[in-house]
Point group: C2
Chain length 337, copies 2
């Protein structure tokens, strides 16, 4: 059993903790929280709580929360740590993890240069086999890799161009904006293009990013130039072979991210998450070697299966075995239309 520490229990950390807790070959040794808030109180029902240091431990205990020890205690009791701390802390934390001789996973907000490999389960799982320091790419990059990589494998991809409509903030945040404006990024390509290259060698990609006033999901408008000219049925069939992609149908009432997330709630999953990337079947168009499609990304949860797989990769597990276990436990079955 692999003992997994979770350092940082925010949007990603809490979901990785849940995901790990339902596997049969790993378990959560404990989670590190930075403030004694409602999330910590609720988490303490299921997990051992650790704090960054002794001062915080005393603060938590003053709020009636039982603390098992400090981050360093936890690292010494675990085989691997998943770092879900706020963006930019990973590099600093990595020094501590090295000191404790513990494997570590960083998330997509961290630099790719500080780890041995960047990870996406579909596009480059084998690169992280038995590695010690791995980065799971961001929600948007994960989503791009998920749908582009099977098309690349089957038909070849000359060029990817994607417009990324980013959700302004996550649903549990009431501070950030915009609430009534559309905010384009002036960077072209946006950082997502470089990031996709870390998990898809030699891909030719340009991306543009625009923030829109919603919290539910990101939406990607994707144009691919293929190396061949498949029929639309071949493209649909290829996208249907991967469990972590689902084809959704506007003709059955899934017209917007409102219904995609409602669909997710109807699956009775923990936190009503949607781990799969949802591609609108009706948006798939093809002209000669050019494919166009639109996909929706649940930014809070799409990287969770990748984090579980990354843990297994780092302990030498075969890709297919890991994906099968991860998907079966999370209820990811693939959906056919």
């Amino acid at each position: 059993m692999i003992g997994v520490a979770i350092n940082g229990y925010g949007t990603i950390g809490r979901r990785v903790a849940y995901g790990v807790s339902i596997q049969d070959d790993m378990y959560v040794t404990g989670i590190v929280k930075n403030s004694p808030d409602y999330v910590t109180k609720l988490a303490s029902r299921n997990f051992n709580i650790y704090t960054p240091d002794m001062d915080k431990k005393r603060e938590f205990e003053a709020h009636g929360i039982r603390v098992k020890g400090t981050l360093e205690d936890l690292l010494s009791e675990s085989d691997i740590v998943v770092d879900g701390t706020p963006e930019g802390n990973g590099e600093k934390n990595l020094k501590l993890y090295r000191q404790y001789g513990i494997k570590a996973i960083l998330e997509g907000g961290e630099k790719s240069t500080v780890v041995e490999s960047s990870f996406n389960s579909y596009s480059n799982y084998p690169k992280s086999l038995n590695k010690n320091y791995v980065r799971v790419v961001s929600c948007n990059t994960t989503a791009l890799a998920r749908s582009v990589s099977p098309l690349k494998e089957k038909f070849g991809v000359q060029e990817v161009n994607a417009t990324i409509m980013r959700r302004a903030t996550d649903p549990n945040d009431n501070k950030k904006g915009p609430i009534n404006a559309i905010e384009p990024s002036m960077s072209y390509p946006s950082h997502h293009a470089e990031d996709l290259k870390t998990v898809m060698d030699g891909i030719n990609v340009e991306t543009s990013a625009i923030k829109v006033p919603t919290t539910l999901m990101h939406v990607h408008v994707i144009n691919l130039e293929l190396k061949s000219e498949p029929g639309i049925d071949e493209v649909i069939s290829e996208l249907s072979t991967k469990r972590r992609l689902i084809l959704i149908n506007d003709k059955e009432g899934v017209n917007s991210t409102a219904q995609v997330m409602d669909y997710a709630r109807e699956l009775s999953r923990n936190r009503s998450d949607l781990y799969e990337i949802a591609i609108w079947k009706g948006s798939i168009n093809i002209y000669k070697n050019k494919v166009h499609y639109i996909q929706a990304v649940h930014q809070e949860s799409d990287v969770i299966p990748e984090n579980i797989d990354a843990i297994r990769a780092m302990f030498g597990t075969d890709p297919d075995l890991s994906r099968d276990k991860t998907d079966a436990s999370l209820g990811i079955k693939g959906v056919e239309y």
Copy 2:
């Protein structure tokens, strides 16, 4: 075992179906859907599907959905029907239910005059004992009854004045507005005041309703004039005695409905629902006989425990027994701060 038909599987119907399905003294005989959409497809994994008529049955079957029969077939096989059809259909449907000699529950959008009693579990459960036609009051009225009735019982209430900030629409809807305006209702009192009187005899109440651009929850600002002058601790302690109310704490980061619904997601419930009315502890203020507090209402789910209790009331079950069973099954434990 009470056989419960669900006619209409929208926001309320689907949640009542789930709630019934996890009780040990009732079961879902089937659900009636009007269109072969994604919700129907997903529902068909768990429930028998019926259609309003034979034409619809054929339409559903053309979409690959197995249909067990029509509404009338379902009524003849059930002991009670919960009507979750769109607002205003209940009265018409009631004629059919009478014809089939079947007990029926209507929801809060229907007129109180067409049923034998209106229902709230805290304030008037006994009135619906062994009745045939009962209406569960709306999400807002349920929420008002939940927090006002224990205070009324303990301290007496002279007058209630509430400002109801209504969510514009439910999360699965992408058509209705407003998205960037605040829309006051000119009716004073708003219909909620009359509705509260149907479950709280002789209550003196005025309400004002304002639509705001959010989908998560309603929020009520409540001012009560009591018949006595309790201390704030007595008020808090009284509100803490009811499991379907929870006191939430802004000091632990619950500053807005964004965090209240995040709190709900952390409870790992089906659809991430919050059945309890959430009262901000920090909002409770008292001056002489006047109490002020603010509460948040998950409009999609707060009436679900009431629907389950109403079914039991109509078959003669004791109130405490029903509430205990309902709350235990739905994970409603009361939360202490």
